[in-house]
């Protein structure tokens, strides 16, 4: 079964590029260029995966997630951006995106990333791994010491991702199964998102979303 994908990016040219790179591997059911367009579209189409630009003219990608995620828990978000600013990327991840890839990603890797996002796995590019390591170390994320500190294993996995290793290579190197590596990465993602839970709840409450 083909994954149903919605593409949210304010550059037509870039959307056309992604469309042609994804080709027949997935089914692109809709496109939007702004937060205001994206939210009703995603609610209506209920896709498997939303490819989401970090920067949109009327707000960040995190605004789309915050408005859609509470009522469409089955929709998974993958951030796709040229943005280098760590805070912006971390914002989208904390809002609930399953991963972040840069726009220079190859077509085959992007297809793979979409599939893994649809399956509920976390998609960490080397750059995102670096951002997350930084966030946990410098306290960009308000860290709840009980919950939010990375374990040694999780840190090792993140460092290997940052070094450019794929999940399979990490598994071989740490003598783990690929599934275990995925579990570690998902745990990191969860910690990052939980560290922001209260903030997110407040944000949603202010806008009468919940």
């Amino acid at each position: 079964m083909k994954r149903r994908v919605v593409l949210v990016d304010d550059h037509d040219l870039f959307r056309a590029g992604v469309r042609s790179e994804l080709g027949d591997a997935v089914e692109i059911v809709g496109e939007a260029g702004s937060v205001a367009e994206a939210v009703p579209l995603i609610r209506e189409l209920d896709p498997d995966v939303v490819l989401l630009d970090v920067h949109l003219p009327d707000g960040g990608g995190h605004a789309v997630i915050a408005q859609v995620a509470p009522e469409r828990p089955g929709v998974r978000f993958l951030a796709l951006s040229v943005s280098d600013a760590a805070e912006d990327v971390i914002d989208v991840i904390r809002a609930g995106a399953r991963g972040y890839v840069t726009k220079s990603i190859s077509g085959a890797d992007l297809i793979d990333a979409v599939k893994r996002t649809a399956d509920g796995d976390a998609v960490f590019s080397p750059r995102l791994a670096g951002f997350v390591l930084d966030a946990f170390r410098t306290g960009v994320a308000p860290v709840d010491p009980e919950l939010d500190v990375l374990t040694t294993r999780e840190r090792e996995v993140l460092q290997l991702i940052a070094r450019g290793y794929r999940y399979k290579e990490i598994a071989a190197r740490l003598h783990l199964s690929v599934k275990t590596v995925e579990t570690h990465v998902s745990a990191v993602l969860r910690k990052l998102q939980l560290s922001n839970r209260h903030e997110l709840t407040r944000w949603a409450a202010e806008r009468r979303l919940i």
Binding site: D84, S104, P126, A162, R163
Partner: protein, 369 residues
């Protein structure tokens, strides 16, 4: 376009209070200092004015309230307002002392208050201020008409209105001109800076891209370098210090990309200031990246800079063909000297692992506390 800033031809020196230098509150000493005259002269003026119905005393008090001390905070708006009121009273008393009638003083006070109010930038203040001034003119005309006869009144009001009509627009235009000139100058500076930047970077790259159109790897590397440069200009990384490891690695990675046409995916966490040892680390990492780009045949090199609490680690990895480190001829300068030698002299280590799946160079350096 000339870039000399426009200045008003007449600018009063800023009056300040010289606290501790005068006999009382330093008002006379401060005014004398600002106007560059002898303080005794100022004191005499105030003393003489004090005999004019007490105007000098009121003026002194007002100046004490309104003037900012030479060092220390400026007075609160309330205090300043009080000061100005006292000064206005002093002026009124003085004018009466000189024999001016109330019919001149009150309209003048109204006009003065109106003009002061109208100096604010908000529209409401302008309207209120101008109305006050107008009321002042009307009162003046009205009172003089009853006391001195109609002819004199018309004459003086005509003069006042003519002055207002001539000077008002002139002052207005002067201020507007100064503002628009300033805005235009800033805008043109911004534009020429932007033009210079675009010319030096984007246009040069586009020209190169056209020339190298047959070589997709080279074109990709050029585009990447340009993207990186433009992005660092548009969104500067507030965490990266110009003289730090992070920005040095950015530069090194960009240079390798440019020289060898292979993209370097650089990921980094943390930053440390550069010193001789850290510089050696950067140079070794640069050599490792260059080797990977030159010899591995991979289409991408990954580099990860991890600044830990007590150690800096840099990993340079490629998915190229790999090689046997033992089989490298002894004369090969790159690995032996530029990487291993450099790292050991800096007190660090270099580890090289290579297989058919690619090569990774691991550089480690303890941080000095």
């Amino acid at each position: 376009m000339s870039s000399t800033p426009y200045r008003l031809p007449l600018a009063l020196p800023r009056l300040r209070r010289a606290e501790g230098e005068g006999a009382l509150a330093g008002v006379c000493a401060g005014i004398a200092k600002s106007l560059r005259v002898d303080p005794t002269l100022v004191r005499l003026t105030f003393a003489m004015l004090a005999f004019a119905g007490g105007a000098g005393i009121a003026a002194y008090g007002g100046a004490w309230l309104a003037l900012a001390p030479e060092s220390g905070p400026t007075p609160s708006p309330r205090r300043r307002l009080l000061g100005f009121v006292a000064l206005a009273i002093a002026v009124a008393i003085a004018l009466r002392g000189f024999g001016f009638s109330d019919s001149l003083i009150w309209p003048a006070a109204l006009c003065g208050a109106g003009i002061l109010l109208a100096r604010g930038h908000s529209g409401a203040r302008l309207v209120v201020g101008l109305s006050l001034a107008a009321v002042g003119v009307i009162v003046f005309v009205d009172q003089n008409a009853t006391s001195n006869g109609r002819d004199a009144a018309f004459e003086s009001s005509a003069v006042a209105i003519a002055l207002l009509l001539v000077l008002g627009p002139w002052a207005w235009r002067l201020a507007a001109e100064r503002d628009s000139e300033r805005t235009a100058r800033i805008r043109s500076q911004e534009r020429s800076e932007m033009a210079a930047r675009v010319h030096d970077s984007v246009l040069q790259t586009l020209a190169l891209v056209q020339r190298e159109a047959g070589d997709p790897r080279r074109v990709a590397a050029l585009a990447r370098r340009q993207e990186r440069e433009l992005r660092s200009w548009l969104y500067p990384d507030p965490r990266a210090d110009d003289a730090g490891l992070a920005s040095a690695m950015d530069t090194a990675a960009a240079e390798v990309e440019e020289l060898h046409g292979v993209p370097v995916e650089l990921v980094r966490t943390g930053d440390v200031p550069l010193d001789d040892r850290v510089e050696a680390l950067v140079l070794a990492a640069r050599e490792a990246m260059a080797n990977a780009a030159k010899h591995s045949g991979a289409d991408e090199v990954s580099a990860f800079v991890d600044v830990g609490d007590d150690e800096i680690a840099i990993y340079v990895r490629d998915r190229g063909r790999g090689f046997d480190p033992e089989a490298v001829p002894a004369g090969a300068h790159g690995i032996a000297e530029s990487i291993r030698g450099r790292m050991s002299r800096a007190g660090g280590t270099a580890t090289l692992t290579s297989s058919a799946d690619g090569t990774e160079v691991e550089l480690r350096l303890r941080r000095q506390s």
